[in-house]
């Protein structure tokens, strides 16, 4: 840090010394001359230099025609567009937090023709902080290609980003070579820096961009002094590892007690007004979380499903499907049961066969309106006790004979199987196996088994 301070002071002295020299020095060619070194002032461009023709094969790097530089314009350009102290003015945190891709690009500085660039020796790249920086520009060292041309890309791609990482040491020699050719008279810098060094630092870590060179140098010197006065520990103590014994707390101070989970759950479940409170409590409302809308295709539920139609209307009926009678019809017949079409045809044929005096057909689902009256001389049911013959010949085949009533007009015709004399139907033959009377007989018979 001290070397940089010494370098700055030397640079300042040289600038002051060279301020009185004539300013008709030819501008040394610099490739990509827009970014200037951090602490070096680029040499002035030749006055009234004719712009070289642009290279047709490289339209991307086609620079605009350089403006007609004058001494005043050049001086104004270099002194206003090189906020070198801005690098030191801002802290590292501000650099990291700044927007790396500012929406507004800095104005492109004076550039040379592309052909001149190819002919010249390569010049080390410089930091982006050497550009004119506004409040929103980043100085992290990332530059875009669009800064080298007037064509601003529509979108900033990764290919457009060129990281320029050149140390200060590599840039400093180029600046030192140019310092001898410049001499800007500014005797008030030392006084201004001495005055501002005594002021307390601003509370905000982000300072305004210095408007003039003197102010920038003063802020740089102030920042350097501030950094040197800070005590930085030489070695960070190693962190403790493993469990450590907790220090006892002083009297009157204790750790917060663990909340009762049951009480919390009960408080969440039960409303404040009791179980039957219809309105949620404020605690419950306060814990309500608005869920995000589901991602994916939008689905709509059919509202007709909420009012299902009757089951009989939904189910398709097949030809052979018959609905079973419900419980109230168990053991009976359904009242509204209609005869099938075949039965109706037979019924019509029967009606035509017996003439018109037949009673009108009635639905089988209804009780007949004309009940037949029981005639004691016609179809009256006669209960006759059955006579079972006790003939011993027919004992095995009892015959039940029913005497026809005398008053019946149409006696039933009874047919009975003729009597057959009982005889042996099956014959069972039982073979009596000889049982040995003594154990010795059985033993001898068993010993004879399998004898050859």
């Amino acid at each position: 840090m001290s070397q940089e301070v010494a370098r700055l002071e030397e640079l300042l002295a040289r600038v002051q010394r060279n301020a009185a020299l004539p300013r008709s020095v030819a501008l040394p060619p610099t490739a990509f001359a827009a970014p200037a070194p951090t602490f070096a002032v680029p040499p002035p461009a030749p006055v009234q230099a004719a712009p070289p023709p642009p290279a047709p094969s490289e339209p991307y790097f086609e620079p605009p025609p350089p403006p007609a530089f004058t001494t005043d314009a050049l001086e104004e350009h270099f002194f206003d567009s090189v906020p070198a102290p801005a690098l030191l003015d801002q802290s590292v945190d501000d650099m990291l937090l700044a927007d790396p891709f500012p929406s507004q690009m800095p104005a492109p500085p004076a550039a040379q023709a592309y052909t001149d660039m190819l002919d010249e020796d390569p010049v080390p790249l410089v930091r982006s902080a050497a550009h004119r920086l506004d409040d929103a520009e980043d100085i992290s060292g990332v530059m875009t290609v669009s800064q080298f041309s007037e064509q601003v890309p529509e979108e900033l791609l990764e290919d457009d980003i060129v990281e320029v990482s050149v140390s200060v040491d590599s840039v400093a020699p180029a600046g030192n070579e140019l310092d001898d050719d410049l001499n800007f008279g500014d005797d008030e810098i030392s006084e201004e820096s001495a005055r501002t060094s005594d002021e307390p630092p601003a509370s905000s870590s982000r300072h305004k961009v210095a408007g003039t060179m003197d102010e920038a140098l003063a802020r740089a010197a102030e920042q350097i002094d501030f950094d040197e006065g800070r005590e930085v520990p030489l070695k960070t103590p190693p962190p403790e590892s493993g469990p450590q014994e907790a220090m006892p707390l002083p009297m009157g101070i204790h750790a917060p007690l663990a909340p009762d989970i049951e009480e919390l759950l009960e408080a969440d479940i039960l409303p404040a007004g009791g179980v039957y409170a219809a309105v949620p409590t404020t605690e419950q409302v306060g814990q309500t979380i608005d869920l995000e809308e589901a991602r994916g295709p939008h689905l709509e539920l059919d509202s007709a499903l909420s009012h299902p139609a009757p089951l009989h209307a939904e189910l398709p009926h097949e030809e052979l499907e018959v609905t079973l009678p419900r419980r109230e019809f168990g053991g009976g017949y359904q009242d509204d049961l209609m005869p099938p079409p075949e039965a109706r045809q037979e019924l019509d044929a029967h009606r035509n066969r017996y003439g018109d005096d037949a009673p009108p057909p009635e639905s089988l689902a209804q009780y007949p309106s004309q009940q037949p009256e029981a005639s004691p001389q016609a179809f009256a049911p006669v209960i006759v006790p059955a006579n079972v013959s006790n003939d011993p010949y027919t004992q095995n085949a009892p015959m039940v004979t029913v005497d026809a009533p005398s008053n019946a007009a149409f006696a039933p015709e009874l047919l009975a199987r003729p009597d057959i004399n009982p005889g042996p139907v099956a014959k069972f033959i039982r073979v009596e196996s000889p049982r040995p009377s003594t154990f010795l007989q059985l033993l001898d018979a068993s010993l004879d088994l399998g004898r050859n």
Partner: protein, 183 residues
Amino acid sequence: MNFDPSYALEFDFGRGQVRMANAGERLVVPSDALLALCQGASEDAVRDFGRRLGTEAGRAMLGRLGEAWQAPLETVVEHLGGELALMGLGSLGLERWGQALVLSFSYSPLGQGGDLLLGSVLEGAMQRAFGRDVVAVKLMREGDQVRFLVAGFDGARKASDWLYQGVPWGDVLTRLTNSRGQS
């Protein structure tokens, strides 16, 4: 004549002996020890030991019945079974399958390992009581009951072959009966 086991055993505590009526001294030994001895011995030794036990039982039965060749089936089963029960060998049973004589033991403390010994006991008893050389062929064991076919040498060999071939023991008895009828 029913079997009366009264005073069949005599415990002489002065001498430390156990005697059976009309017989010599006995030993009351654990059954598992006897079974272990039989399993460790050869088959011929076990058969010889069993036949000696059966001979003793047949002799005791003859001493009770007198003429055993006239005894019916029930009497033989009762007395021979009584003598074997006094020995603690189990309960004797008799089954007649046609002309085949099948004797069974139930609740024998020797279990399946003592089947060879029990068969040998029957062979010794038949030989001593009825003067017949028989072969007891183990037909099957079902639980605590084991059945033995009492047959001659020819019949025992055929039955053993059929049983070895996997013929059910019922079919073995049927084949033995048919083979006798054909012959």
